[in-house]
């Protein structure tokens, strides 16, 4: 396949960025999207030009490093995948592909297609944990039975990889799917109950301070989430938050 790529180039956080056109040929449909960018970069370096900076690491859909806004969609046109799992067979010969960084005030650009998602870390520092000592001297694991349905729901929420696609897809750049998933994981488990009130209040407060917008129930986040995290988690967070506010 021969393709035209329109790629956002931005030297650093304080520089002005612009779209730059590149053409690439002999793209195999079996390549992943990131492997296609590897080929482009290798050509650029050989020509003495600067390669395009993009985040990536595990390349098997689980680390959450890869981002990219492709043709107006977080992680591109395929469903239920990260960018590293997006394959070029989703595109046609002659296509023009636009590649931009995830855009949100809370995700400042570091370089080219790389954004700073450390706001997600700070939300977790505010309460994304169960306060248990790491001594191993806790009760036997089977002394805390968990209803299978709750355990499965908790697991489904915990599968969030923190990639930020939900924020990038939201017209308000809201992080509520991410925070909802984190709150839900613990809210559904008996171990997480003791500090549930503080957890949801602190995490939501930090989320607001980071500059994420509000949820207006558009649902774009759920559509673009590579892990299929359900909107139900936002509802659960809202219920938790309301209950905590009334208590607090």
């Amino acid at each position: 396949m021969n393709l035209t790529l329109k790629i956002w180039r931005q030297k650093g956080a304080n520089d002005k960025g612009k779209m730059v056109d590149y053409s690439i040929s002999d793209v195999s449909p079996d390549m992943s999207f990131l492997e296609m960018l590897d080929v482009l970069n290798s050509e650029l370096i050989t020509k003495g030009e600067e390669p395009v900076a993009f985040d990536h690491d595990c390349r098997e859909g689980i680390c959450g490093s890869c981002s990219l806004y492709i043709n107006g969609e977080a992680h591109g046109p395929d469903r239920g995948v990260t960018t590293c799992q997006l394959h070029m067979r989703m595109f046609k010969d002659g296509d023009v592909i636009t590649i931009e960084p995830f855009r949100a005030k809370a995700f400042p650009v570091i370089k080219d297609l790389i954004v700073d998602r450390s706001a997600f870390d700070r939300i977790q520092h505010a309460g994304g944990f169960i306060s248990v000592n790491t001594s191993g001297l806790t009760v036997d694991a089977n002394a805390i039975p968990v209803n299978k349905h709750d355990a499965d729901e908790s697991f489904m929420a915990a599968t969030c990889i923190g990639c930020g696609a939900c924020v990038a897809s939201c017209k308000n750049a809201s992080a509520m799917l991410f925070v909802g998933a984190k709150v839900s994981q613990f809210a559904l488990l008996p171990q997480g109950q003791v500090e549930a009130t503080d957890r949801v209040l602190n995490m939501v407060k930090q989320m607001d301070e980071e500059g994420f917008g509000n949820c207006t129930n558009t649902g774009a986040c759920e559509v673009e989430c590579p892990k299929g995290i359900s909107l139900e988690n936002i509802a659960r967070m809202n219920r938790e938050y309301l209950a905590a506010s009334l208590k607090g």
């Binding site: 290798s42 370096i45 690491d57 098997e60 490093s65 994304g128 790491t134 694991a141 039975p145 915990a158």
Partner: protein, 665 residues
């Protein structure tokens, strides 16, 4: 230096308890005055950082990723072992210990492995308390499954994402300490050297990957939890950023590097599809619980399949060769990874491979669909003889167990594994070699510790499934936090370690000179060009099977390639900015040294053991042949060029296990 493993005296089962009772402790008030650097934030580094901070030490943690949550432990799929015996199938600490030593082909250290088995049960308790959502049975209790190389069900799991959930558990424990200010987190930072003062590790030189700034960080002790070096093969199941740099720099500063040639090749990966490939994707070994592995019995059928003229589903049962079930009836498809990997290579080399390149075998779930489906039909009172219905019900069960893996396979290969058998082939996965450590996990440099995959100690020559997560967390949560206190108890009066000393200056200069050389080289080829070539040499000559002749030529080729790299590598951009190519160049430079030591180690070891298979040493049936005279750990001392490295041996003695021929038949 004579290697002293510092294994405590006394009966095996009491060693760890006695050791904990007799080593020195640091008073809680003094812990506040002690700084510890932890490099790497995966299962080992993350759990260590959290625990050390909780004990009261001041921790500085470093990772090259944008968040500790992205460390490659996150990609581990299958599960974590623990000798809980919840299933009542005869499991015990001793059995887990025995299976691990046997699985490691009697090349691991008895005392360390026993301790690992001993603390394994606590890991599960700890993780459950932290809110790790393990798989549950309907009664609310934890579910287990089985993995290769064992006859009990001791593996705890969270669908096919156990590593992610365990890592998020450690990360949440870290978050709690970051929130309390006890851990200072340095994301997007890469360690580029260890600083030694008076022979002790007292800090590191790190590079801020965003600004390019070189930083000096001091501490009373340095802990490396930096993972393995499988990316020396270029193609592996490791994340793209996984590298040997921190470990290699530690080696250059005096830490011995042990068993570099012990590499685990994982049997169930998605086969290579073309030259563009950047990495190989692993499919959890747990699939072998329910999948049957086969190739066609007749060469002409294999040829027809490769040519696309015959569909695997059309091949009759009697024309299929379930070679693992045939060769190893006791363990069948659940033989250990090295055995399964070699058996696949043997069939493909003999001409029975099933993909275009002839380097793939089938992993078939058809039988599992029917087996589970019949059970479901029975439970639901439906017609057990309706094959279409049974298949559908069975597929639903398989989907709940391995759904994400099936989806991943379909995305990559573009074939539906519910309809046609998966194709798999072995790929480089986990490195059992690493920095030599004693029983306290201390390297040959005082104050420098190595944990998890970065050290060599617990896996021997081969690692059984679900044991890496166990070791990472055991080291980080339960071993290092005790043993490091013994060393630090002598440092309570030391005070802050200054960074404006000649040792820090000298180390920083080494780092800066290296970077300047790479940036100013202006050669003709990008870093990947050299990395790919290194990978080809490694895979072809130091891969699943090796021989003296190939290893000798590999040593020369790698050495020549290294010289060419330093002359001809092209690194664009500058050093004072975000520069991924520069970071990669430094990593590949270290791989080019490690690769040669790897080949040298493999050449020296004239035997076959686990993941190290020498063609010259095999039984008439093609099984690995160990040799008594090689029952030692090879620990290499750095002396400049890899060719000058000096070999030290730590003899391995087995007092509690009889060293037998390793049989899975």
């Amino acid at each position: 230096m004579a290697l002293d493993a510092k294994i405590p005296k006394g009966p095996l089962a009491d060693k760890w308890t006695n050791h904990k009772n007799t080593i020195d402790l640091v008073n809680p008030a003094n812990k506040r005055n002690i700084d510890i650097i932890v490099v790497g934030t995966g299962l080992a580094g993350g759990s260590a950082a959290a625990t050390l901070a909780e004990l009261g030490y001041n921790v500085k943690a470093f990772c090259f990723q944008d968040s500790p949550r992205r460390a490659h432990s996150i990609a581990a799929q299958g599960g974590i072992n623990a000798a809980k015996n919840y299933q009542g199938d005869g499991d015990s600490t001793y059995r887990l210990f025995y299976d691990t030593v046997k699985g490691g082909d009697y090349r691991s250290r008895e005392a360390n492995v026993y301790r690992l088995a001993e603390v394994s049960a606590n890991i599960i308790d700890q993780c459950v308390a932290q809110g790790v959502p393990f798989a549950r049975e309907y009664g609310g209790l934890l579910d287990n499954r089985s993995f290769g190389g064992v006859l009990v069900s001791r593996t705890f799991y969270a669908a096919g994402q156990t590593g992610q959930q365990l890592l998020l558990g450690a990360y949440s424990a870290m978050n709690r300490q970051i929130g309390r200010g006890k851990i200072t987190m340095y994301n997007r930072h890469e360690m580029l050297d260890v600083v030694k003062v008076d022979g002790k590790a007292r800090g590191i030189i790190a590079r801020d990957l965003v600004s390019g700034e070189i930083e000096r960080h001091s501490a009373h002790a340095v802990v490396l939890g930096t993972g393995g070096y499988g990316n020396v093969f270029y193609l592996s199941t490791n994340a793209m950023g996984s590298n040997v740099t921190a470990a290699w720099k530690a080696h250059k500063r005096g830490a011995y590097f042990a068993n570099p040639c012990y590499t685990q090749i994982h049997p169930t990966c998605i086969p290579v599809s073309g030259e563009h490939q950047s990495k190989l994707t692993l499919m959890s070994e747990s699939l072998r619980n329910d999948g049957r592995i086969w190739v066609p019995k007749k060469k002409e059928d294999a040829e027809a399949i490769r040519a696309g003229k015959l569909k695997p589903t059309a091949l009759a049962e009697q024309d299929r060769d379930y070679y693992l079930e045939r060769r190893y009836p006791a363990f069948g498809n659940l033989v250990p990874r090295d055995v399964a990997s070699r058996a696949a290579k043997e069939r493909c080399d003999a001409g029975f491979g099933v993909n275009k390149t002839g380097e793939a075998v089938y992993l078939d779930f058809a039988a599992a669909f029917m087996r589970y489906g019949k059970e479901q039909a029975h439970v639901k009172g439906l017609d057990e003889n309706d094959d279409a219905l049974v298949k559908k019900l069975g597929q639903e069960i398989v989907k709940t167990k391995y759904g994400n893996l099936f989806q991943m396979y379909e995305k990559i290969v573009n074939q539906n594994p519910y309809e046609t058998p998966m194709m798999i082939y072995p790929a480089v996965h986990y490195t059992m070699g690493g920095i030599w450590v004693d029983y306290n996990l201390q390297t040959t440099v005082p104050g420098l510790y190595a944990i998890g995959e970065a050290n060599f100690s617990d896996h021997g020559a081969n690692r059984l499934g679900a044991s890496a997560l166990m070791q990472g967390l055991a080291d980080g949560y339960f071993v290092l936090p005790y043993t490091i206190g013994d060393y630090l108890s002598h440092d309570i009066r030391t005070g802050k370690i200054p960074t404006d000393t000649k040792e820090f200056e000298e180390a920083e200069k080494t780092v800066v000179d290296n970077i300047n050389h790479l940036i100013n080289n202006k050669g003709t080829h990008p870093v990947d060009y050299f990395h790919r070539r290194l990978g080809k040499i490694m895979w072809n000559k130091c891969g699943m099977a090796r021989n003296a002749e190939d290893l000798k030529s590999a040593i020369h080729e790698i050495s020549d390639l290294r010289a060419e790299f330093w002359k001809d590598v092209m690194v664009p951009g500058s050093a004072d900015e975000f520069n991924e190519e520069l970071a990669k160049a430094g990593r590949v430079a270290d791989f080019l040294e490690l690769g040669e030591l790897f080949a040298k180690d493999a050449l020296q070891r004239e035997e076959s053991a686990g993941g190290h298979f020498r063609d010259e040493y095999q039984t008439p049936e093609g099984e690995a042949m160990r040799r008594k005279e090689f029952q030692y750990v090879s620990a290499w001392e750095y002396k400049g060029e890899p060719k000058d490295a000096v070999l030290h041996k730590e003899e391995l003695s087995y007092e509690n296990i009889e060293v037998k021929e390793r049989s899975y038949k």
